[in-house]
């Protein structure tokens, strides 16, 4: 039996984790802003944010490549000033996963934020807390369940991204080849057995991870489980 190269698995986990963290950091303020704003154009922004979902991943990857690539102004600036290369590096894989996963986060989190009891925010305001503070001490904890589910969604989506990562990061073995690409390659190289093994590994790792996240989420919610039930 061939040895199974586990590099893609670890790369995928690393990439997905970083992309998820980025999506949280960027997505939380955006979705909160969107949930509070009632302007028409916040709905337009919302719709625009779904573009990464409706475009074919490879095409999205192509546009990212053109936008951030080494001959693009952004890419050249980054490379010349900081020596940072995005495309065809693990960073590129993170960017791809991030772009692909962010919309899922924003959509879910926005709805969650919008359904928080306004009176609780009022209570916090009266108690002298700033909006910023309220966001972290009331809004986030109260939408914890939804944020957590959005986060697993994002993580899963980042973990599974194929087309965009393939295009932006280049599927270089032991460098930027993530698990989904490795599985695809094995399948198309006619190596079904290897493909199946990799699928099983990917599947079990994901199930275990997502299950753990779910449990953790439950644990962290402690007494809140039915917090909304009142007597």
């Amino acid at each position: 039996m061939e040895a199974v190269n586990l590099f893609p698995l670890f790369l995928s986990l690393k990439v997905a984790t970083i992309a998820t963290v980025c999506a949280l950091v960027v997505g939380l303020p955006i979705s909160y802003y969107l949930s509070r704003s009632h302007h028409k154009w916040s709905d337009i922004l919302d719709s625009l944010l779904t573009l990464p979902i409706v475009l074919p991943p490879t095409v999205l990857g192509y546009y990212l490549l053109v936008l951030l690539g080494r001959s693009s102004p952004i890419g050249r600036w980054l490379e010349e000033t900081f020596g940072i290369l995005i495309v065809f590096t693990p960073t590129g894989a993170v960017v791809a996963a991030f772009v692909v996963a962010l919309p899922f986060f924003v959509k879910t989190a926005r709805a969650a934020f919008a359904s928080i009891d306004q009176q609780l925010l009022n209570a916090a305001r009266v108690l002298g807390r700033s909006e910023w503070d309220i966001f972290f001490t009331v809004v986030i904890p109260l939408s914890w369940r939804n944020i957590a589910s959005a986060t697993t969604l994002v993580f899963a989506r980042a973990l599974g991204d194929f087309g965009t990562t393939l295009m932006v990061a280049g599927s270089i073995p032991n460098e930027t080849m993530t698990m989904p690409i490795a599985i695809y390659d094995a399948l198309l190289a006619g190596n079904k057995k290897m493909a199946n093994i990799l699928v099983i590994i990917m599947t079990s790792v994901s199930v275990v991870l997502l299950y753990t996240m779910k449990r953790l989420e439950k644990r962290m919610m402690r007494g809140e489980n039915d917090a909304l039930r009142r007597h």
Binding site: T58, Y62, L65, V66, G69, R70, S71, G75, V87, F88, L166, M167, G170, S171, I172, P173, N174, E175, D185, L187, L188, A189, G190
Partner: protein
């Protein structure tokens, strides 16, 4: 990694999946140079190289993509090489009585898979063959298109089409019945290779090129069904 063993990255078309792996192993045995292959459809790889992908060489399934890179000044023109001709044939589902293109008209042949002729060179050849055989019109409604040539093979492997027109190079050691299509039925599939401009390993890349065209390389390529062009 200056102290590490030298290595090069070769972007190669999907039909080369099996053949190049073996070439790469032999090359390493002889020279100690590690070759990493990035397989994909020719079009996709060409696009990535244009955007600065850190590949040292590009092995396309057709010469046009190589010409494009040369035109865009991202590949070294003098290293362009057509080193082999590909062949296509029909991979047939077990139990289906098909051995010629005419057989595709049979009623029991419900679906036929080819790669997308728009951007997969092997798909284009399949289309040309069907047209030349005068069955394109009748077969077209039965066609299913794969993203690249390896995808296409998956259709017949999974039993969803009766016949797939694929690269011979993918069929070595394959269990499915395979019927070659006469090479005059389509324009030659010119497998071209080129060294990219931004490579930092031009020496090693040239070594690989030489190896590929050398006796070991050509014999491996032949083994996989490629036709080696006569030295011009």
């Amino acid at each position: 990694q200056p102290n590490a063993a030298p290595s090069i990255k070769v972007a190669a078309a999907a039909d080369l999946t099996h053949a190049f792996k073996e070439v790469g192993e032999q090359f390493k045995n002889e020279t100690g140079i590690d070759v990493t292959f990035i397989f994909g459809s020719s079009g996709q790889l060409a696009e990535q190289i244009k955007q600065g992908a850190p590949f040292d060489m590009f092995a396309s399934a057709n010469v046009e993509y190589v010409d494009e890179l040369v035109r865009d000044h991202v590949a070294l023109e003098q290293t362009k090489n057509v080193y082999a001709f590909g062949r296509v044939g029909m991979a047939v589902k077990n139990g289906v009585a098909v051995s010629s293109l005419q057989d595709l008209l049979k009623k029991e042949v419900k679906k036929v898979a080819i790669a997308n002729p728009d951007h997969a060179p092997y798909g284009l050849s399949a289309k040309q063959a069907l047209m030349k055989a005068g069955v394109w019109e009748q077969v077209e409604p039965k066609l299913v298109y794969g993203k690249n040539i390896a995808d296409t093979l998956a259709y017949v492997e999974s039993g969803n089409v009766e016949v797939a027109i694929v690269a011979l190079a993918l069929m070595k050691d394959h269990h499915l019945p395979f019927y070659l299509i006469d090479e005059h039925m389509h324009e030659p599939i010119r497998q071209a290779i080129v060294i990219t401009k931004q490579t930092k390993h031009e020496k090693e890349a040239r070594e690989f090129l030489a190896f590929l065209k050398g006796p070991t390389g050509t014999s491996i390529m032949k083994k996989y069904g490629f036709i080696i062009p006569k030295e011009e």
